[in-house]
């Protein structure tokens, strides 16, 4: 009977003790949890995946005038601290306090024992590298307990919840690659493992995709404007007016003579300073268009000047004005000649969008840099190269084909105008077919009899046609 009474008394004491412990939050807690965070471990993403190694950072503050001698962190069942390494930092404000600690792990428990109790008002930071959250995912809370220097043990208040996810299909494929012996052998080669790691190629293909789309978007949106601007400036450079020519030459030389990188910096950092705020992507398009237009202007100018003088004379002889000559005789011929060079320039512009990453445009190189800095591996850059090549290789092929065709036609082996074809398209083929001016005039249906009025004043041209 006495024994029973004693047991009852002990139980009562326990309940009372627990009551005190639970009531504690209202009193001063010796160690309060500030926050717990986990490093994203989703390859090419920003999720925290359960069952895969990551890093937990737990932060707490020692309050009141108590000292803490040990801390135990606890994860939900399935979480694992075994095999992890731990960094314990004790701070007084921004200054480190050197206190030796001993860390032991047991499944989902991690115990940090301090050689000397850590003083009141200090910040405790525990960083556990290589721990895992439960594979099931879900919201994870870090709980645990601590001991004060007086030997009392209290429960830690729960940390904020860390969102974790269970495995993704992509991650499962990566896990399969991880386990594959052939892949392991491949990665054990320093070069292959650093530049061509299959797991990272797989994950970065998906994570770099949005950047690739933006790259393409920027250059495709910029190019039509670049062509129009380039054409305008090439015509200005060929103008008879000195001032117009000077403007064009200044524009072209300034842009061609400075690195695109510099132009990007000026546009992205200079414009906001004078109060012009344009969204990053739009500004990227503008810079690419303006930069490309200078190169295109030179390409068009060279193309226009490569058209033999005879074409102008022939056009003049049929009474065309300067504008008419340019737009219906010279430019159509120029277009065919400059297509290869313009395509090359397009390829260059497409690659040059990579420079926009330096000012925070979320394009391909930015995503690659992101993935590289997270993984510490060069492979994402190689994946970026693949994305560039997807566009550039076919284009290079196309340029080759066009160049061969032009070469053939310039030699006189190209398609010749068929009899009965209308005058306009026949004019297009003039140069290609290597026709003499006399033939050309004959074929356009203007015989010797109409030659004379062609030399009349411009006003007379309408009558001729």
């Amino acid at each position: 009977m006495a024994r029973l009474l004693a047991a009852f008394a002990v139980a009562l004491a326990c309940v009372a003790g627990m009551g005190v412990a639970f009531a504690a939050p209202t009193e001063a807690f010796a160690l309060s949890t500030n926050k717990a965070t986990a490093r994203p471990n989703e390859d090419g993403g920003d999720g925290v995946i359960g069952g895969i190694e990551t890093r937990l950072t737990w932060e707490g503050t020692v309050g009141g005038d108590e000292e803490v001698s040990s801390v135990t962190l606890e994860l939900a069942d399935g979480g694992n601290f075994d095999g992890s390494t731990t960094r314990v930092t004790v701070l007084d404000g921004l200054t480190r306090i050197d206190i030796d600690s001993e860390v032991s792990t047991d499944g989902n428990l991690l115990k940090v024992k301090f050689a000397d109790p850590i003083p009141a008002n200090s910040l405790l930071r525990i960083v556990v590298e290589g721990m895992t959250f439960p594979a099931a995912g879900g919201e994870q809370v870090v709980s645990g307990s601590y001991e004060t220097s007086g030997g009392e043990s209290h429960a830690l208040d729960d940390s904020n919840a860390i969102d974790t996810i269970s495995n993704t299909p992509l991650q499962q494929a990566v896990a399969w690659l991880d386990a594959n012996p052939a892949v392991q052998a491949w990665n054990s080669n320093r070069f292959l493992g650093m530049f061509l790691k299959p797991q990272l190629i797989l994950t970065s293909l998906s994570s770099l995709f949005p950047g690739w789309v933006l790259c393409l978007g920027i250059v495709c949106a910029a190019y039509p404007f670049a062509i129009l601007l380039g054409l305008a400036f090439s015509l200005m450079k060929l103008s008879r007016h000195k001032i117009v020519r000077a403007i064009a030459i200044t524009y072209i030389n300034l842009l061609r003579g400075t690195p695109l990188f510099l132009q990007i910096y000026i546009a992205f950092f200079g414009l906001p300073m004078v109060g012009i705020n344009i969204s990053n992507n739009l500004l990227g398009i503008c810079v690419m268009a303006i930069n490309s237009s200078a190169y295109l202007a030179e390409i068009f100018r060279a193309g226009i000047q490569s058209i033999p003088q005879g074409q102008y004379e022939a056009a003049a002889s049929i009474g065309m004005s300067r504008m008419q000559t340019m737009f219906s005789i010279i430019l159509p011929q120029t277009v065919r000649r400059v297509i290869p060079t313009v395509t090359s320039d397009f390829i260059t512009s497409y690659k040059d969008t990579s420079l926009l990453s330096s000012v925070g445009v979320m394009e391909l190189m930015m995503f690659a840099k992101n993935a590289t800095s997270v993984s510490g591996n060069i492979t994402p850059y190689v994946t970026a190269a693949i994305f560039y090549l997807i566009i550039t290789l076919p284009l290079i092929k196309v340029v080759g084909i066009i160049e061969r065709r032009i070469e053939r036609s310039e030699r006189g082996a190209g398609p010749r105008p068929v009899a009965g074809q209308d005058a306009g398209s026949a004019t297009d083929e003039l140069e290609a077919a290597g026709a003499s001016h006399a033939e050309a005039i004959e074929r356009t249906g203007l015989g010797a009899g109409t030659l004379e009025p062609a030399f009349a004043e411009e006003g007379g041209v309408a009558d001729v046609r």
Binding site: R256, M362, G376
Partner: protein
């Protein structure tokens, strides 16, 4: 690469003779350039001499005999930066490297600046630099790739915004906010872990990040506190630190894992530097106080 394709059009306008003359001039200029820039050419030739160095001067396995070849990202004042007028590297880490080399009886040789996130791979690959002193925090993750010397200085992180901004850590953690970081830094890791909603923009160096925050391209920036304080005091007076992030991290000197002899020598020299007061005077010079 630009000259390749974009030069095509202008090339047509040149006569062949003119072009050859130009090419010859360019070639000469390139050759002359090679001769004069000794620091950059030494880095490229060093890879070939590594083997010889390790076999002939077996003890420290230096990239170049008699020289302690060091590498850093040179846009991290007051730890390392290029002097405005001379173009020479200067800063706390630079001076530390010089006195390290002195204590080891070697000549200090600083390689040209390199992106911060490429430094761990460079040291891991070996053959380019003996060690990196570049304000690099010792982390367990980096320890998997490379070795670190004993810590030489403590640091924390800072959350920087424009002085007229009302943002706090909480308001910055939102999907319409852009946070600039230096790629591969602990500041980047902190941002990714704590500002999970925001878009993190990793940059090669922090100066463009600071400029971006001041022009409004980015809403905030996370960088080591000493660097933030230095830059806000000297250059970016329109920025402010809204949060001193207590990380208590420690910088260490990065050395290739296979080179334990060099690591020991560096640690010995580092201990001497701390003991003989050199460290205190370096701190006084660069931070105006002993830490």
């Amino acid at each position: 690469m630009e000259e390749d394709s974009k030069g095509e059009s202008s090339m047509k306008a040149l006569t062949r003779r003119g072009f050859i003359g130009m090419a010859a001039t360019a070639g000469m200029a390139t050759l002359a350039g090679c001769g004069s820039t000794s620091s950059s050419s030494s880095s490229s030739s060093s890879a070939a001499t590594t083997e010889a160095a390790t076999t002939s001067d077996g003890d420290l396995g230096l990239v170049e005999d008699g020289k302690l070849t060091m590498i850093a990202n040179m846009y991290f004042p007051p730890f390392e930066s290029m002097n405005d007028s001379t173009g020479e590297p200067e800063g706390f880490d630079i001076d530390l490297g010089k006195s390290l080399a002195e204590h080891m009886g070697l000549e200090a040789n600083w390689l040209p600046s390199q992106a911060f996130d490429s430094i761990v791979p460079t040291i891991k690959a070996g053959g380019t630099a003996d060690c990196a002193i570049t304000g690099m925090t010792i982390t367990d993750e980096r320890l998997k790739e490379i070795s670190f010397s004993d810590p030489y200085i403590d640091s924390n992180q800072a959350l920087v915004v424009r002085s007229d901004s009302d943002d706090t850590e909480d308001t910055l953690n939102s999907s319409d906010k852009k946070i600039a970081v230096q790629a591969g830094t602990t500041g980047e890791e902190w941002a990714r872990e704590n500002l999970t909603e925001a878009t993190i923009v990793p940059l090669d160096e922090i100066i463009s990040g600071m400029t971006g925050v001041s022009t409004g391209s980015y809403d905030g920036l996370v960088i080591d506190l000493p660097v933030a304080s230095n830059q806000i005091k000297n250059s970016f007076t329109d920025l402010k630190v809204i949060e001193q992030i207590q990380t208590g991290e420690q910088y260490g000197i990065a050395v290739n894992k296979d080179n334990e002899a060099l690591l020991d020598a560096i640690n010995t020299a580092l201990a001497e530097i701390k003991k003989d007061g050199t460290m205190d005077s370096l701190e006084q010079t660069w931070f105006g106080t002993t830490l």
